[in-house]
């Protein structure tokens, strides 16, 4: 499993960027939104929690597409399926690698980005905590979606169609926690719910995803 993890990280880095790329994408989304909605700081700071969370979501999404697809296309997935590693562990490892290259850097860099969108200062710790708790769920749910669509030639859009609705609860609680933080209200409830979703996803989805992979390899 460690071998698989290092291999995936190596591949992500060799393919250019790895850790930095998700950040750059996040930054771009955050720059684009003011271009769309206009430069008024008051509106921006009001929608900041939502935009930051939607941006994190999209950054995850864009790198999901190829999570299993490259392995499927070059035949490694078949070989991995016959290896001593259970497919469940494979899925979990892949999701972890994905989180390390997207969710984690996003969480760490969120401070800088929140300044750009004028997120009120008390919202910043809430944003970071909610991202730290919530992004693993994004990666895990995304891995499930990627497993479902692995055999398809142009899975990108279809994948987002499947995955985005599953992201809704995470998004709602995450953005809500940040908003409450920004308004200096207590954030315990949404954080707990967020944590529950993440734990649930990590506990159950590897099995579902492995089942989907098995079907797609058949």
């Amino acid at each position: 499993m460690i071998g698989l993890l290092t291999r995936d990280l190596k591949l992500a880095i060799r393919a250019g960027g790895g850790f930095g790329l998700a950040l750059a994408f996040f930054l771009i989304v955050i720059v684009l939104v003011p271009f769309g909605v206009g430069p008024q700081t008051d509106i921006l700071s009001k929608i900041a929690p939502g935009i930051l969370w939607v941006g994190a979501l999209l950054a995850c999404l864009l790198s999901l597409d190829r999570l299993f697809a490259t392995d499927f296309e070059d035949g490694s997935l078949e070989l991995l399926a016959t290896a001593p590693l259970p497919l469940e562990a494979l899925v979990a490892t892949k999701a972890l690698a994905h989180w390390l290259t997207t969710g984690l850097p996003l969480t760490l860099a969120a401070v800088a980005f929140s300044v750009l969108l004028n997120l009120p200062t008390p919202g910043i710790p809430a944003l970071i905590t909610s991202l730290a708790i919530g992004t693993p769920a994004l990666s895990m749910i995304g891995a499930f979606g990627a497993a479902l669509t692995v055999g398809l030639k142009r899975g990108g859009l279809l994948l987002s169609l499947l995955v985005l609705p599953l992201y809704v609860p995470t998004l709602i609680f995450g953005a809500e926690a940040t908003r409450r933080g920004a308004e200096a209200m207590p954030t315990t409830t949404p954080m707990l719910l967020l944590a529950a979703i993440t734990l649930g996803a990590i506990a159950c989805l590897p099995f579902a995803a492995a089942a989907a992979l098995r079907v797609n390899l058949r």
């Binding site: 750059a24 271009f35 004028n118």
Partner: protein, 242 residues
């Protein structure tokens, strides 16, 4: 003797070998003089107080941020047309410097904006176009990093630089259209009537000259490094090919 002779890597290496160190010394001299002069021997601004002194870092870095991209555009064109390796590698070497200058302009601007406008960040057109410039630098460098074969990478990044320049100018235009900002207009025009007074102006020019020298020294140094790295890559490849 044609200028293109220096595009020969060997000639380039031997010529620049002696130039780098003096250039650094000269750059240090100018930058330090300008900064010390600016920080300690100019009066405080009557409105902005001593915060105005950050201008000696802010304006030179902002100017360099743009000019480095222009230099990359020219060297990319030279590579595409005449296929001189030094040219392509000079563009590659300049990008991180340009990005650092951009970041410095953004950072000093933010530090300045906090007392002046009351926020760290404002979606002002000039600031925003710098953010976009930063993204262009990022993309350019990411493409260099992602492509394995050096010649392929040089070709692709050159095309990107070309197209990117057009779009960067378009963006600058579009951003002005999108928001009227708070930022200062240009004050370094030749028409001195409407300019800041000489007391501020002269050290600023010294700083700018220093930054230009610093950039040249850094670019030469980094291009030399890139040439060596390229050569190393070549040797390694041949070694591996047996």
């Amino acid at each position: 003797m044609s200028l293109w002779e220096y595009a020969n890597p060997r000639k380039f290496m031997s010529t620049t070998e002696k130039a780098v160190a003096p250039l650094f010394a000269l750059a240090a001299l100018f930058v330090l003089t300008g900064l010390v002069w600016g920080f300690f021997f100019t009066p405080d601004d009557f409105r902005q107080g001593s915060t105005v002194k950050i201008i000696y870092l802010h304006v030179p870095s902002a100017m360099m941020a743009i000019n480095v991209w222009a230099m990359m555009l020219i060297t990319s064109l030279v590579w595409l047309i005449r296929r001189h390796h030094v040219s392509a590698l000079a563009a590659k070497a300049a990008a991180p410097i340009g990005m650092t200058m951009t970041l410095m302009a953004l950072f000093t601007g933010a530090v300045w904006g906090q007392p002046m406008w009351g926020t760290w960040w404002e979606w002002d057109p000039r600031l925003t176009s710098f953010l976009i410039l930063f993204l262009f630098y990022l993309g350019y460098m990411a493409l260099w990093a992602a492509v394995e074969d050096p010649d392929t990478a040089a070709d692709l990044t050159s095309v990107l630089c070309l197209v990117g320049s057009v779009f960067a100018i378009l963006s600058r235009y579009a951003v002005n259209f999108w928001s009227q900002g708070l930022h200062q207009g240009a004050s370094l025009s030749l028409d001195k009537e409407e300019n800041v007074s000489d007391v501020f102006w002269i050290p600023l020019v010294v700083c700018i000259i220093g930054f230009i020298l610093l950039f040249i020294a850094l670019v030469l140094l980094r291009t030399r490094t890139e040439l060596r790295r390229r050569r190393l890559h070549a040797i390694e490849t041949r070694e591996r090919m047996g």
